[in-house]
Amino acid sequence: MIEQIRNQARQLLENGEVDVVIGYAEGSDPTRTTPVFVRKPEDVDRLIYDARCINSLPLYLNKRHEYTKKGWKKTGIIGKGCDIRAITQLIAENQLRRDEVYILGVPCEGVVSHFEKWDGSLHDGNRASKCTDCDVMIPLDTDFFPGEKPEVDRSGPYKVTSPKVANLMGMENDQRFAFWRDDFDRCFKCYACREVCPHCSCNVCITDETTPSWIDPAAHKKGVFSWHLTRAMHLVGRCTGCGECTRACPMDIQVDLFNQRMKEIVQENYGYKSGYSLEEKHPLITYKVDDREDFIK
């Protein structure tokens, strides 16, 4: 499979169809992989793909990042199904044009949750929670796909897989608040969750605003709560569930639990799944006559 991808990547680079191919390469130790920017045809053999390829590469297509300012006209990108949904969402939000990317889709069998948990194989003990019930293991929108692309039924609801969400929802309000208070106590506002998110695309983040500073920059409870709640609200209907925010967190705070719960609410109320359509707008900014209004009491 990876040979076909490499050949295609080589061809694209040789023909000058793309300026760069973003993919994965072997990392600093055997459990790790690293994102790699391949610019010369002779380097394509560095590209690999297996269950250790955790990173969400569409991050590098986000206009907020320097990589997009290098003057590359067209970028080839190796994408798992979930990453391609992130690309689709970026296009729907006008942060990217479809003709600026060449998507090399890979069939995915799931990835590990953290590099440290890699022990040579993927199993229930180390699989990322987003991978247990995924309907884009065969990716949706690709320019190249190794082999035949089978038809997949993706009409079903998007499942919130993490048992932790159900756990939290089963708690009383006070208990749940106590859980977050304890978790957020560790947060020191490094903003890794923001930097790694493919959808955080503001030129000036609301947390960096000073006139006025809506979000207190200090890492006390007020500042931490207002940051995480704002982040969750800004991703309603947009988060494609890559889970990178939780993985990037150095303090091991499960910040994506918010996003998963929001995804569930959006889906229940508006039947909307982010990252499946290039045109559809997310429900917080659209109005339909048959929208549920039972929250108005």
Partner: protein, 682 residues
């Protein structure tokens, strides 16, 4: 350092009852930046406003808080007063201590504490108020009127007589609308055409009015004062300027189709004017039927035409015209297809033209239910009209016999939640009474029965008119009709008299249904072209049901007549004149001033996700390309058109990067207001 004045109003006893205004004033005087306070019985009164102005001038105040009633009430009053005293009006804010405080609290202690908080919040907020200037927009003093019925005609004449240029767009070949179809009008029984046609001619001859007959509005862009309309002039195949209206062509035309104007009761030629008094008297060729246009056969009209004005090569034409205001007067139709309700059937030449194939198939073809003599109110008007198909003699459509017994059924389709519309059509009681009179004036020995639910005759001379109809012999039966069936050459009407509790059977020669008045079939599409609101029935929504009944939801677009709701002729005319006076008020200035409380974009921060474009209900946000100093493309950004923006603030909430702010409600102002309240988190 700010120099803020705080003016606390007692509103007689309205505020003073539950708020200690002196304490509020004292508390305010201790706040940072406050240099002047007043506590007065009626701030909005003339002496109160004088006090306000005097303080601004003498103390050199640079911002004022009026702690009083809702800003909806008197914000404009005090801003105007401030302007007169030389202070920027947008440096005046209202702290609402009446509607949101004194009226909803009983406890004076709580009321006073809350008033202090509300005032304190405004004091902090106003420190960030910027002196805003009103936007000045150009104004095109030309009005577009959609629809050439009585509403459109009245509005056009009122405007043109005041010196305003008017364009009427009418989709039929002639002005007149539904009123031209009526025979006589209630409650005076004066002839509809006699009062209407002089007005139609006046419109055509008026130097300031341009009539676009047989034309439709395709697109409307722009905003109040600066609309740009795209008008589709359908090909008439007749050259307007040459035609003398002699009538040779339509008399000689060998083909005929059912006449829309005569409700399908008779046929008309393919080159036609809808009715003899049509204005303009220029015929049009129905290109969907004409064999010359379809198959290049015939062409007789061109041969007989003296001035040689028939041009089969004519094409539809697009006109683009700029307007400052629009009056929508698109009128109504009767609820289509109600005949089926009562088992009725129409022969092909009498089937309403707009039926789809499927609907046609659903009509019963033969046997029981062939009820040709069940007609609706407008068809009866044509039968009773002196210029109608029967020359004013009331004859039934099936065999032309003069009907001896006529049953009138009121509320057909109206006040019917299940099969029809929920509302009362308002005019049916009156026109049914008129019909009984017209019928009995024409057929002296005839018997008229009216089945009704209630009589609703609220209007000048209306109840008297109903009494007159009853005195002249019409028999009113309170009850509904359950079915109509054929009995010989008569129609058996089975109904009930709910006052006596008995079943009533009447053998009638003809049945007239008082069918519900509904909006035009394409009312919703028209509303979408115009960008105005409409209700669930398709009637256009007014801005405020009581206080702004002729303004649509969009600035510069006004409503007149039955497109806004069911109305009779006097009400329609009154609303048309009201709409005209609104336009005159708008055009009374040389330039348009727009409120500066509109959204503004920080284009460097904008990350062009276009969420604001998606949420904006007024299409006020454009996508623009920013260029560097060499003219090279730099980035995309949103830009608000202050002419269209209504300051609703939706874009503010949609913008994640906080790149859009509403002037007068900026983040800094709102943040200062919230923090002044002192709410601490966790």
């Amino acid at each position: 350092m700010a120099k803020i004045g705080v003016f606390v109003c007692q509103c007689g006893n309205n505020i003073a009852r539950t708020v200690d205004t002196a304490a509020v004033a004292k508390d305010a005087s201790e706040q940072n930046g406050v240099v002047h306070v007043e506590d007065y019985k009626f701030m909005c009164s003339a002496p109160g406003q004088e006090m306000f102005k005097k303080a601004i001038k003498e103390k050199g105040l640079d911002a004022c808080i009026v702690a009083a009633c809702s800003p909806k009430m008197h914000e404009a009053t005090f801003r105007k007063a401030a302007e007169a005293a030389g202070l920027n009006p947008f440096k005046v804010e209202i702290a609402n201590i009446r509607e949101q405080c004194s009226w909803v609290h009983d406890d004076k202690e709580i009321g006073t504490a809350k008033s202090k908080d509300l005032t304190h919040m405004m004091i902090e907020r106003i420190k960030f108020n910027r002196p805003l200037e009103r936007y000045v927009m150009p104004l095109t003093k030309r009005t577009l009127i959609l629809g050439g019925g009585i509403a459109g005609i009245q509005a056009a004449l009122d405007l043109a007589n005041a010196g305003i240029e008017v364009h009427i767009v009418e989709r039929e070949p002639s002005l007149g609308g539904n009123m031209a179809r009526l025979s006589e009008t209630f409650p005076t029984l004066d002839c509809s055409q006699c009062i209407m046609t002089p007005k139609m001619v006046e419109v055509l001859d008026h130097p300031l009015i341009t009539v676009h007959a047989y034309a439709e509005l395709q697109k409307l862009e722009g905003f109040i004062g600066n609309f740009r309309a795209t008008i589709l002039q359908k090909a008439k195949f007749v050259i307007d300027d040459l035609c003398t209206g002699c009538g040779e062509c339509w008399e000689k035309c060998p083909f005929s189709v059912e006449s829309e104007f005569e409700m399908g009761l008779v046929k008309r030629p393919i080159i036609y004017i809808p009715f003899p008094q049509a204005v303009p008297t220029v015929p049009v060729i129905d290109k969907t039927e004409c064999p010359k246009i379809l198959k290049d056969k015939c062409g007789l009209c061109a041969q007989v035409c003296g001035p040689d004005c028939i041009d089969f090569t004519q094409q539809d034409e697009i006109k683009e015209i700029e307007f400052g205001a629009v009056i929508v007067a698109t009128g109504f139709q009767l609820m289509p297809n109600v005949y089926r309700e009562y088992g009725g059937w129409r022969p092909p030449h009498m089937t309403p033209k707009k039926l789809t194939k499927k609907e046609r198939a659903a009509l019963p073809r033969s046997g029981a239910g062939r009820l040709v003599d069940v007609i609706n109110g407008l068809e009866f008007e044509r039968l009773a009209s002196a210029s109608g198909p029967t020359g004013g003699q009331i004859r039934r459509p099936s065999d032309g016999k003069i009907p001896e017994t006529v049953v009138f059924i009121a509320c057909v389709g109206s006040r019917d939640c299940n099969k029809g519309v929920e509302y009362c059509s308002k005019i049916c009681c009156m026109y049914t009474a008129k019909h009984t009179m017209l019928y009995q004036h024409s057929v002296h020995h005839g018997k008229a029965y009216v089945f009704y639910m209630d009589i609703r005759a609220g209007g000048k001379g209306y109840e008297e008119f109903i009494n007159r109809a009853q005195n002249e012999g019409a028999q009113y039966i309170r009850g509904r009709v359950s079915r109509l069936s054929k009995k010989g050459d008569k129609i058996l009407v089975k109904g009930a008299d709910t006052l006596t509790g008995q079943a009533v059977d009447v053998e009638a020669d003809m049945v007239v249904l008082a069918t519900a008045m509904v909006p035009q079939g394409d009312a919703e599409e028209t509303a979408q072209i115009l960008g105005i609101g409409y209700d669930k029935h398709g009637f256009y929504s007014e801005q405020h049901p009581k206080l702004m009944p002729v303004d649509s939801s969009t600035g510069g677009i006004f409503l007149a007549g039955t497109c806004q709701g069911v109305k009779d002729i006097p009400e329609t005319v009154a609303q048309a004149s009201a709409a005209a006076s609104k336009v005159l008020a708008l055009f009374s200035k040389e330039e348009l001033q727009r409120d500066p409380e509109v959204a503004i974009v920080d284009q460097e921060k904008c990350m062009n996700c276009w969420d604001c474009v998606t949420v904006c209900p007024y299409l006020a946000i454009d996508r623009v390309e920013l260029k560097d100093r060499n003219g090279n493309f730099r980035k995309w950004a949103a830009q608000v058109n202050p002419g269209l923006c209504q300051g609703c603030g939706l874009c503010n909430t949609a913008c994640r990067s906080k790149s859009i702010e509403l002037q007068g409600y900026t983040n800094e102002q709102v943040y200062a207001q919230i923090t002044a309240f002192g709410g601490e988190f966790v």
